[in-house]
Structure formats: structure tokens, C-alpha cells
Symmetry: C2
Subunit: 331 residues, 2 copies
């Protein structure tokens, strides 16, 4: 299988899950000390992950949690973000300009910052109150924080059972999903590698991942045009430009917003012949209880799209690492 190292991926996910002890200690300490608001602060891909975490929490908990975009924060500010607030961030490089500046502003205000910064010795990593350095797996990290806050808040009584299942089965379930999606991914890449435009639709905890897939993968890494649209919003505008030959991919997850995407699934075949439906229900996820599957729908999405990416990259002879403008020009 192309660009697939099973052992390394299993190790990566399991290593992320093993951060739980550290995360629990930090979140429990913050929860006990008290706070007014929780902010997931990001930009681009990390903003997308932040949206996912906040959507995930909203239906399950009354915790006062907000998404904040780093660049918007730097200009508009946020009067709800105070010295009593908690800010959760993630950065691979530790050098994203907007994040570095936003964190410096948050520090002046005196809010506590929990940072997942992969590169430990960057100034950004050194400046956060609670640092966890471990590569990749941003969504797992963000959701572990969310889950621990909700556990403390009495919103997640099945917490221990859920993480027992993840510890034992998640890593394997995800690589198995990748294997199961491999031939589909190849076919999809063959069919869509030359698309002039591709619409990606999704909802729930997958929405942030869909937003990011269109923007951070198709646009940024494949240089292919794409638009993401939420399943709920699709019916209020975008549907009108869909016709027989429009390339549309709908992601269906298993959380509470599943019906929103199912509605799109019923509509699409009536007006379009070039649609694809990617439903997490079609993947086994051995060892994960039915009631917990929705909580990881966004991770399953990513396992499947990673197969598409591997083949688009190869077929288009376009290494995903290259950038036309990002960090190539000063702007």
C-alpha cells in the first residue's frame, strides 16, 4: 500500500493516547482552580480542529467553550477571554506567525494556556503554561482535553469505558479503515485528479475536518480547487450550482448530526451523477462500541481521505510537501 506504514501509524496513535495521563493532570488542575471560559484558539488547520472540538462539546455539555481564530483575535480581540480563561492551542512547527503573536497577547491578559507544540524548543512552546510535545494527532489531543473537561463537569460518565476501548482498539481500527479504503481511494483519485472544482460536504465533528480537507489538503497540498460546505447550509445556496457533472463528495459521520448529511445523501442522486458518499458506517472499527462510534467519526474520515491523498499525490506527480506561496514569499 502506497505511503502506508502500519506499524508507525499504530505507534503514533497509541503514543498520542498515552498522553492522557498528562492531559488529565493538567485539566483536573485547571478545573479544580476554576475558569470563566474555555477557548480553542487556532488558524487554518488548527482552527478547523478547534471547530471540531467545540461542535463536539456543544451538544454534550454546558461548558462555556468558544472557537477563536488567532488572526481575528489579534485584531478584534475577545472581551470574554480574561485572566480566568483557559486557552488550548496546537502547533506543529511552533512558528506560525499568527499563533505566536496571539499567544503573546493571551499571555499579557494572563489566561492559562495549554499547548500541544510538536517542536519543544520553540519560543511558542516555552511560553505556554502547560506544554505537551508529541508529534501529529492534533484532533485526538484536542478531543482528549474536551473529554476530560466534560468528565470533570459530569457530562461524560462513560469516560473510562470509552478510553479503555480507544486504548485497546483505536489505533488498529484506524489502520484497518485505511486498508479497507485503499482501493476506493485509488479509484477516487483516478476519477477526480483533474477536477476543475470539487465540493466537499459534511457535518458534526466531521465538519471541521471537511473544511480542512478542502482547504489544507486539496487547495494547499494538491493545488486543486475545492469548496467545503456544511450539510445544513448546503440547502441554502450551494445546491443551486450542482448539476449532473459536478464533482461532489459527501461525508457522513455517526454523531448527532448524521441526519443532516443523510438528507444531502437523499438529494444528491436526483440532480448529480458524479457524487461520492463516504460513510463511516461502512467501516468496521472493531472493538469500538456502537454508542462511541460517533465520537471518532472525524478520525475515520481522515483515515479514508489519507488513502485518496496518497493516490492523488502520485497520479498528479505533485508532492504534498511543496507550496507555491506559503512560506515561500513574505506577505
Amino acid at each position: 500500500m502506497l505511503k502506508f506504514n502500519e506499524e508507525k501509524q499504530v505507534e503514533s496513535v497509541n503514543g498520542a493516547l498515552q498522553l492522557r495521563g498528562s492531559i488529565e493532570k493538567i485539566v483536573d488542575e485547571i478545573y479544580a482552580a476554576g475558569f470563566d471560559n474555555i477557548f480553542y484558539l487556532g488558524i487554518g488547520g488548527t482552527y478547523a480542529s478547534s471547530m471540531q472540538a467545540v461542535t463536539y462539546i456543544t451538544g454534550k455539555s454546558a461548558l462555556p467553550v468558544y472557537v477563536e481564530n488567532a488572526a481575528e483575535y489579534l485584531t478584534t480581540g475577545n472581551r470574554k477571554l480574561t485572566s480566568k480563561s483557559v486557552v488550548i492551542i496546537s502547533s506543529v512547527t511552533g512558528s506560525t506567525e499568527e499563533m505566536v503573536r496571539a499567544v503573546s497577547q493571551v499571555k499579557e491578559i494572563g489566561a492559562r494556556i495549554l499547548g500541544f507544540i510538536d517542536v519543544k524548543d520553540t519560543p511558542l512552546a516555552q511560553s505556554v503554561d502547560y506544554l505537551i510535545s508529541y508529534p501529529a494527532n492534533e484532533q485526538i489531543k484536542f478531543f482528549m482535553v474536551a473529554d476530560r473537561f466534560m468528565f470533570n463537569n459530569g457530562d461524560f460518565p462513560q469516560y473510562e469505558q470509552f478510553y479503555k476501548e480507544l486504548d485497546e482498539h483505536l489505533a488498529i481500527a484506524l489502520v484497518e479503515a485505511e486498508k479497507a479504503a485503499d482501493s476506493f481511494g485509488m479509484k477516487f483519485a483516478q476519477d477526480h485528479k483533474d477536477d476543475s472544482m470539487h465540493y466537499f460536504i459534511g457535518a458534526g465533528n466531521q465538519w471541521g475536518a471537511v473544511y480542512s480537507y478542502a482547504m489544507c489538503y486539496w487547495e494547499e497540498q494538491h493545488w486543486l480547487r475545492s469548496k467545503s460546505i456544511h450539510s445544513s447550509e448546503f440547502f441554502h445556496g450551494t445546491l443551486e450550482v450542482i448539476d449532473r457533472d459536478t464533482a461532489v463528495t459527501l461525508f457522513i459521520g455517526e454523531d448527532e448530526q448524521r441526519p443532516l448529511s443523510e438528507r444531502v445523501a437523499e438529494f444528491l442522486p436526483r440532480v448529480c451523477s458524479r457524487y461520492t458518499i463516504i460513510d463511516t458506517k461502512d467501516y468496521e472499527l472493531k472493538g469500538i462500541s456502537p454508542e462511541f462510534r460517533g465520537r471518532i467519526s472525524h478520525l475515520v474520515l481522515r483515515a479514508i481521505t489519507s488513502r485518496i491523498d496518497a493516490y492523488v499525490e502520485k497520479l498528479n506527480c505533485h508532492p504534498m510537501e511543496i507550496r507555491r506561496y506559503y512560506r515561500q514569499l513574505k506577505y
Copy 2:
């Protein structure tokens, strides 16, 4: 001037501003009684207006205010929306399915609902706690509510002065902006009526309007493909698909997020030859003090784009009223 009735538009805006007495009475009553959270609840175009109002408030006030999407609310719910909450909605027809169902759910919870429903005798209009029926001007209505909440909260000491200026000058300032934009609108329509794809970029209180312009106007009413992207997020993906011939329109407003759009304005000419910049600063807005101009940037945007719409409609022989699928099919 095409599709332009100066007298009617002045009357429409002034009539909306005259709702202020009723709005003040309602908001003052709610504020005095107390509340836990404020929600702007919408879908499609009204969701976009909700985003604008919440962005507008965020930097100016610590009021606990959230955007909520009606369809997401119907599935995920929102544990922060309680019997002590305030929900603000708007609906032209009073019949949008998701809104009708969401409001019914909110009523069960017992939150107070302030509704701007243009059609007074719909069940939706009859079901809200506070009803204001007046056609169009959704953004002015939403922002008047926001401003009165902030005034009560001590976040807007210049409230009276600001509204004195709007009462005296806004309606004329906006029709004058339309007139000033007319020849530009015609040229823009000529240049872009056949675009296979058009990118719209913006920030601040204009962001919701940009999101809506791409989706509710170009896609829904002109059947033209478009993608909206926030000025802050543009640099984290979408920039990579912009090349010499890409049609890109950047909106620049005058609120705190202006620098985010200015950054895009500096970048675009280096990589693209088919970009347009629409800056509210180029419009006079007679009688509006410099410090207040940013608060109405989204209205100026709409005045300008309405000129584009008039000419795209005419040149493309595509009446903006027609829909391919929306309310034509059951789905």
C-alpha cells in the same frame, strides 16, 4: 439606474431604524430581567447575518453571545441554551423549515425569543415572545439589538450619538454609495458574468456578508460558482490555488479586522491579475463620523454588491428570483 428606486430604499432603511423604540423596550426588559446566554439563531442567509452580529459584539463586549445554526441545533442541541437564554431570529417568509422546527424546540426549553418575522400571520411569527414585523433590513435589525444589549451592558457609551447619525444620514449614505458604485458594478458584471469560479474574501463584520454573498447571491440567485474565504484563513490554504487568471474579489471594511484584509490586498497583485478590491473607504458616507464607519461596513458592502447583482442579472438573462431546486423539489 437599473433596479434602483431611491425613494423606496431610503424609506425602507429609515423605517427599519424607526424600529429602534420597540427594540429598545424589548432589550431593556430582557436585560433587566437577566439572562445567561444570548443566541443569534439562523440558517443560510440568516445564519450569515448572525455571524456578523456576533463578530461585531465579540471585540466590544463580554456579553455571552453565540451563533447557532438552526439545523445543527435540531440535531446536536445546545446545552448552553436554557430557559434563561435569549434567542434572536429573523425570517422573511416565516416558513423556513429548519427555523420553524428549531424555534418550536427553543420554546419547549422556555428561552425568550425575539423574532423579526416579515410575514406577521405565520405560525412562526405567532410563536415568538417578542415579534417585530417589518420587511428586509435584517442586518440593521440584528445590529440594533446587539447595540442595545451593549448599551445596557456599558459597552457602548456613544450609542445615542451613533444612532442620531444613522437616523439622520444612513439611508442617504447608502443610496449615495449605490450610485457611486453603479458604473463599477456594471463593469464588474461585464468582466465576471461568465466566471467558472469566483473567490470572495473578507473579514470582520463583512465576513458574514461575504459568506452570504458567495452562497446566497452568486450560487443561489445567479447560479454562478463561488467560494467565500475569510481574509485570515486565506493564507492557510486557499492562496495556493490563486494564479494569474483566477477571479478574486476582496472586500475591505473599516472595523478592527481591516488589517487582515489589507494583508490580502498587498499579496494579491503579486500572484493574480484578475483581482478586484472593494474598499468601503472609497465611499463618502456623508454625516457618519470616522469612528463609526467601521460599524456599518457590512451595509456599505451590500450597497455595492447590489449594483453588481443588478447587472449580472440583466447580462446573464437570469432573474434572481428563480430557483433550480430550492423549494422546487421536496428533499
